[in-house]
């Protein structure tokens, strides 16, 4: 249940356009090539890293339990975190929703007299659409993670949780840099990285405020942790005089020692690394005036619809997510359509459950259906979130609620026909004779199925929902002989 007066919101949301966006993505062969590349590579690397960890399953169970314990007593742990962070000299701020969070950051930036703001990768600031608000206020937020910088230059949103610009080819990035930065065009990846290094160094030096995400916040010590590979988070949190970490209320873990298991799980699940190149553990501002690092450390803790998920264990689980991206890489839907099709900064299986839960099901009512429920996401999730279960829960909410979910069911008639079609199907298939007849027909009519478009036309005539269902699917060939026939033959030959 959300607090009245708050308005949980996800920026740039177009989640109800999934059917449209997915179709567009399927027609984009460059995108699909890139998607295969990223999901296969990360998937394989993850698998190898996991295979080398004999205690993997026990680690996942431990992580799930740590998160469940934290979330079921979140008021307690959050209080502990705030107390310890403040004792360490951190300024702690809260925001009920996206709008409040953005204006809190804007006010802080103004108080600091900050013009340039160095940002390191943070999904939470993507969620609240922070950059736009800061830009509208005349400030210059600069994304410093290479992938995030690329999509900021291109005016796009991330398409993968841990590889935000993976939908772009080096050629496209070469054009982008040449146009936006007025540098000589090169599509050498090394060169492109050097250009980024050169340009962003200036931003770090100019920045009066560094904003980072938070991977884990530790209640016991008031510390928070950022993991990365590039070093941009280290620069963003070392060069400017102020550092602000932005986190959702769910980022907590109870104890410092709990980090150990999560530090083993997260990099392996995300990129298959033993450990990312850098972890920074922040506990308060610099201890003496002539030390290095920021004078002030701030933390902004965001609700934005999260607390409403705490009441029920099914929905509560989704707050255990550590944003590793593993579920994206194994998802048969994500692999085909990519991140932008989801119309949300949170794509893939976890996006399909988080987006409707945070923004409201009516704003993302097609996403819970964008899944085959194969369960691959659940099997790889390092905190064992039962994503298929959550998807079913959300589907139930959508179907019993007032909103009709998607194509074919958009009308009363469509819903009625769908129900009838499935009833007829169930009746027909539950009789042994009828089942046999259906099999015989399927084999006999098979050659017709090869005629392009025919099955679809017939299906659409029979029942519009069936037509919608067959639009993007090909008919699987039936086996030349049925199991019953084979069985009879075998028995006969004995």
């Amino acid at each position: 249940m959300n607090d009245p007066g708050t308005e949980p919101r996800i920026a740039h949301l177009a989640a109800n356009d999934f059917p449209e966006l997915a179709k567009r993505a399927l027609d984009d062969s460059t995108l699909r090539g890139a998607l295969h590349h990223v999901t296969d590579l990360f998937g394989d690397k993850r698998e190898n890293a996991v295979a080398a960890m004999p205690e993997w399953e026990a680690m996942r169970e431990r992580a799930r339990r740590v998160k469940e314990e934290t979330l079921s007593r979140l008021d307690h742990y959050l209080e502990e975190f705030v107390r310890n962070a403040e004792a360490a000299g951190v300024h702690v701020h809260f925001a009920r929703d996206a709008a409040e969070a953005c204006s809190a950051v804007e006010k802080l930036a103004q108080r600091f007299g900050a013009q340039t703001i160095a940002k390191s990768k943070s999904m939470t600031t993507e969620e609240i659409g922070l950059n736009h608000v800061l830009e509208d206020a005349g400030l210059e937020p600069v994304e410093t993670d290479l992938g995030e910088w690329i999509i900021q230059l291109a005016g796009e949103t991330p398409s993968h949780i841990i590889a935000p610009a993976i939908h772009k080819t080096r050629g496209q990035i070469a054009d982008l840099f040449a146009d936006e930065l007025e540098v000589e065009r090169t599509d050498d990846v090394q060169e492109l990285c050097s250009i980024a290094r050169r340009f962003l160094r200036k931003s770090f030096a100019d920045a009066d405020l560094g904003i980072s995400g938070v991977n884990f916040a530790i209640a016991e010590t008031g510390s928070f942790l950022v993991l990365e590979n590039e070093g941009n988070a280290r620069l963003s949190t070392s060069m400017p005089r102020r550092h602000l970490g932005v986190m959702g209320i769910e980022k907590l873990i109870p104890r410092f020692e709990d980090l150990e298991v999560f530090l083993r799980l997260l990099p392996r699940s995300g990129t298959g690394q033993h450990l990312t190149s850098y972890q920074s553990i922040f506990t308060g501002p610099k201890a003496s005036p002539d030390d290095e690092g920021p004078d002030e450390v701030h933390v902004l803790i965001l609700d934005n619809g999260r607390s409403a998920l705490l009441g029920d264990w099914v929905t509560r689980q989704s707050l255990g997510c550590i944003r590793c991206g593993a579920c994206l890489n194994v998802c048969p839907v994500y692999k085909q359509v990519g991140g932008h099709a989801y119309g949300s900064v949170y794509p893939g299986p976890i996006g399909a459950v988080i987006t409707p839960q945070l923004a409201g099901v009516e704003k993302a009512k097609t996403l819970p259906f964008a899944s085959s429920l194969c369960g691959a996401c659940r099997d790889v999730c390092p905190v064992k979130i039962d994503i298929p279960r959550l998807l079913l829960h959300l589907r139930g909410k959508i179907v019993t609620g007032d909103g009709p979910p998607h194509v074919g069911r958009e009308t009363r008639k469509g819903r009625f026909l769908e129900r009838m079609t499935f009833r007829a199907w169930a009746w027909w298939m539950s009789g042994a004779r009828r089942y046999r007849v259906a099999g015989w027909f399927a084999r006999k009519l098979q050659p017709l199925g090869a005629r392009p478009g025919l099955v679809q036309r017939v299906a659409r005539k029979l029942s519009p929902p069936l037509g919608a269902w067959t639009a993007g699917r090909e008919l699987r060939p039936a086996a030349p002989r049925s199991f019953r026939e084979l069985w009879r033959e075998q028995e006969g030959s004995r």
Binding site: T6, A34, H37, V38, W56, A58, M59, R62, E68, E69, S72, R73, D75, E79, V82, H93, F94, R96, E100, A104, L146, G147, A165, K168, R170, V189, Q190, C193, A196, R197, N229, E230, G231, R234, L235, S238, P254, R255, F256, E257, L259, E260, V261, L263, H274, L275, S277, Y278, I281, T283, G284, P285, K286, A287, D291, E292, G293, S307, G311, W313
Partner: protein
């Protein structure tokens, strides 16, 4: 801001009302918190071996020396290899001793002069610990001013006593707490890297392109 704080806590409490964690409380300080920790790293030799192997596999370069005089020599060779002239140093005494012995290099305090830091060729810091499990360096901000010297120059050379290499991540975390959790604890494993363009791995996108670790066996 206290109104937002109160409202968030109120909403959390309201939604958690009646929620009982069905599970038994978590066990602490036992094998459960250490799951996945590698075994067999009790001997220093095993720790050094694993540290070297893992760090090398992520493009770190490890040099083992018997004493500080040898460390100076290796540092000189590294500087020569990269053609480095201007060298930033952290303020750790050991770093000052080892790098200060190199008269042919121009050295300065990396935390003091940002303009020079951005120009320099190489940065030298110590590390308070190594982690055998992951080939990681652990640096505490209160032991030396390491933040920028270990990060901004294109080459980072870290001096580590091999006796300070701990077996696992868990022990490194425990050491950080024992040191009173300084404002920043940095874990560094290999050079800076990115795969953000077509997943091609490029080192040195923001931080160092090259990481050298000089392991000193003098105790």
């Amino acid at each position: 801001m206290s109104t937002a704080r109160d409202a968030v806590f109120a909403s959390i409490r309201k939604n958690l009302a009646g929620v009982q964690s069905a599970e038994t409380p978590l066990d602490r300080g036992t094998a459960a918190t250490r799951l996945g920790a590698p075994q067999g790293l009790d001997e220093r030799a095993a720790r050094v071996e694993r540290f070297t192997k893992v760090l090398t596999s992520v493009d770190g370069r490890v040099h083992r020396v018997a004493n500080e005089a040898e460390a100076s020599e290796v540092l000189r060779a590294i500087a020569a290899e990269h053609g480095a002239r201007l060298v930033a140093l952290s303020d750790a005494p050991q770093v000052q001793r080892i790098a200060g012995a190199l008269a042919d290099l121009e050295t300065f305090d990396g935390s003091r002069d940002r303009a020079r830091l951005l120009e320099c060729d190489l940065g030298v810091t110590g590390a308070q610990h190594g982690i055998a499990e992951t080939g990681t360096l652990v640096l505490f901000s209160e032991s030396e001013r390491h933040r920028l010297t270990s990060l901004v120059p294109p080459i980072h050379v870290a001096l580590v006593r091999s006796s300070t290499i701990v077996p696992t991540l868990g022990e490194a975390l425990a050491e950080a707490r024992r040191a009173g959790l300084p404002p920043l604890v940095s874990f560094i494993t290999g050079p800076s890297r990115t795969g953000d363009i077509e997943l091609t791995i490029v080192v040195g996108v923001h931080g160092p392109k090259t990481l050298h670790v000089i392991l000193i066996d003098d105790d």
